[in-house]
C-alpha cells in the first residue's frame, strides 16, 4: 500500500489561511490503513482546524467527506457538488489523489494535507516499513523475497557491503541490513547458491530514470476505432 503522514497542523493551517470554507477530502483506501487520511483523520483534522481558527478569531467552515478512493474518477466525480461549494479542498489522500482532484476539477484549489511517504506495509500496529521502490523490474525471485532496491540503503544488487555489521546497516543500527536478511532467508530455503550469482547492472530505464511512466493496455481500452462506429 501507499503510506503517508499527515502534514503538521501549522502547515495545513497556513495553507488554508486565506479561505473561509474548505472541504477536507479523505480517502478510504491506503491512507485509511496508515491512519493519515481516512474518515477518522478527516474528523480529527476538521476539529483541529475549526478550533485553531476559532481561537484566532477567523472561523473556518469545514465540509467533511471521505470517498472510497481518490485515485479513480468514478469515486472522485461525486465530490463535484461539495467542491463547487467551497473555496479550497484539503486532500488527505496520497499525491495521486491530490492530483486526481486537481485534474478532475481544474478550477478547484487543491491542497495536500498528507506527505506521501513510500510503498510499504503495516508491520505491526503503529509501524509502517518500506517494501517496494516501484523500480519496474522485479528481482525478488533472486533475493529470497526481500527487495534490495527498497530495503538496502545503497540499493545494492550484489551485497552485502562492508557497512553491514551484526545484521545492521551502517547508516543506523535500527536499520536491518537487507543483504543479511536475504542471506538468512536464502540459507533457510537452501538457495544459498543464488548468493554466488552475480546480478548484472540493473536497467534503470523502467524506474523514474526513464521519465514519468505509464502502462498502456490496449485490450482494456474502451475507445471504439473510427471504422467501427455506426453512421
Amino acid at each position: 500500500m501507499i503510506t503517508g503522514q499527515q502534514k503538521p497542523l501549522a502547515e495545513i493551517k497556513e495553507m488554508t489561511q486565506p479561505f473561509h470554507k474548505v472541504l477536507i477530502a479523505g480517502c478510504g483506501t491506503c491512507v485509511t490503513v496508515c491512519f493519515a487520511g481516512g474518515e477518522k483523520e478527516v474528523g480529527i483534522l476538521a476539529a483541529e482546524l475549526r478550533m485553531a481558527r476559532q481561537l484566532e478569531g477567523q472561523p473556518l467552515e469545514i465540509v467533511e467527506r471521505t470517498v472510497q478512493r481518490q485515485c479513480e474518477w468514478e469515486y472522485v466525480d461525486p465530490l463535484q457538488p461539495e467542491i463547487e461549494g467551497v473555496e479550497a479542498v484539503v486532500s488527505l489522500a496520497c499525491g495521486i489523489g491530490v492530483q486526481a482532484l486537481a485534474q478532475r476539477f481544474p478550477n478547484a484549489r487543491v491542497l495536500p494535507g498528507v506527505n506521501t511517504s513510500f510503498l510499504g506495509l503495516p508491520e505491526k500496529p503503529g509501524l509502517f516499513t518500506e517494501r517496494c521502490a516501484a523500480c519496474g523490474n522485479c528481482i525478488l525471485h533472486l533475493t529470497g523475497g526481500i527487495c534490495p532496491i527498497a530495503r538496502c540503503s545503497k540499493s545494492l544488487l550484489n551485497g552485502p557491503c562492508g557497512g553491514s555489521a551484526e545484521g545492521h546497516c551502517e547508516i543506523d543500527k535500527e536499520v536491518d541490513c537487507a543483504w543479511q536478511l536475504i542471506y538468512d532467508r536464502l540459507k533457510a530455503l537452501g538457495q544459498l547458491d543464488l548468493m554466488a550469482e552475480i546480478i548484472p547492472a540493473k536497467d534503470w530505464s523502467t524506474n523514474r530514470d526513464g521519465g514519468p511512466r505509464k502502462i498502456v493496455r490496449e485490450d482494456l481500452m474502451l475507445d471504439i476505432p473510427e471504422e467501427g462506429r455506426f453512421g
Binding site: P8, L9, A10, K40, G43, I44, A47, E48, R50, M51, A52, Q54, L55
Partner: protein, 150 residues
C-alpha cells in the same frame, strides 16, 4: 482566574468497570467534589477516541479527563493502555491547536478509589480555574449533530 462567575465544565469519560465505579463510590461515600463534572460511562477507557476528546473541547468543555482501570487491571486487558496513548496524542494536538494539552488528563482507578476520583475532579477543576475558561466559549449544538438527531 478572577472571574467569580466562572464554574469550569469538566467532562469525565469513565470506564464502566473501575472509573465509573469509583465515581459511583465517591457519591455513595458523600465525598465533596465540584458538581460541574459530567460523567459519561464508556464500556472501556479504550473507547475514548481522540475525536471524542477533541469534540468535547470543541463543544466547550473546560477540562476533560479519562478515567480508566488501574494498569494491569483492564477488563479488556489493554484498553487503558490504549487510552493513555490516545490521551498523550490528543494532548499534543491540543498544544498545536493552542488550547493547551494541560486541559486533558488520564487517571487510573480501582473500583474502590472513590476518594481518588473526587481528588481527580478537584485537580481538573483547579487546572481549569488556573487556565481560565475554554477560549472557544460554549457554542450552540453543531448543525450536523442536530441534523443527525432529527
Amino acid at each position: 482566574m478572577s472571574d467569580a462567575s466562572y464554574t469550569p465544565t469538566i467532562l469525565a469519560l469513565a470506564c464502566q468497570h473501575r472509573g465509573y465505579a469509583a465515581a459511583d463510590l465517591a457519591g455513595s461515600m458523600h465525598l465533596q467534589y465540584p458538581a460541574s463534572v459530567r460523567v459519561i460511562r464508556l464500556p472501556c477507557s479504550g473507547k475514548a477516541d481522540v475525536l471524542y476528546l477533541l469534540r468535547a473541547f470543541e463543544e466547550g468543555a473546560d477540562a476533560v479527563f479519562v478515567a480508566g482501570c488501574k494498569k494491569g487491571m483492564c477488563h479488556y486487558l489493554e484498553g487503558n493502555y490504549n487510552a493513555e496513548r490516545r490521551v498523550k496524542y490528543a494532548k499534543k494536538l491540543l498544544d498545536e491547536i493552542g488550547l493547551g494539552g494541560e486541559r486533558l488528563e488520564m487517571f487510573f482507578f480501582d473500583a474502590a478509589d472513590g476518594p481518588l476520583f473526587a481528588q481527580a475532579v478537584r485537580e481538573m477543576a483547579e487546572r481549569a480555574q488556573r487556565l481560565g475558561p475554554n477560549p472557544l466559549g460554549r457554542p450552540g449544538p453543531r448543525q450536523d449533530v442536530q441534523e443527525e438527531s432529527q
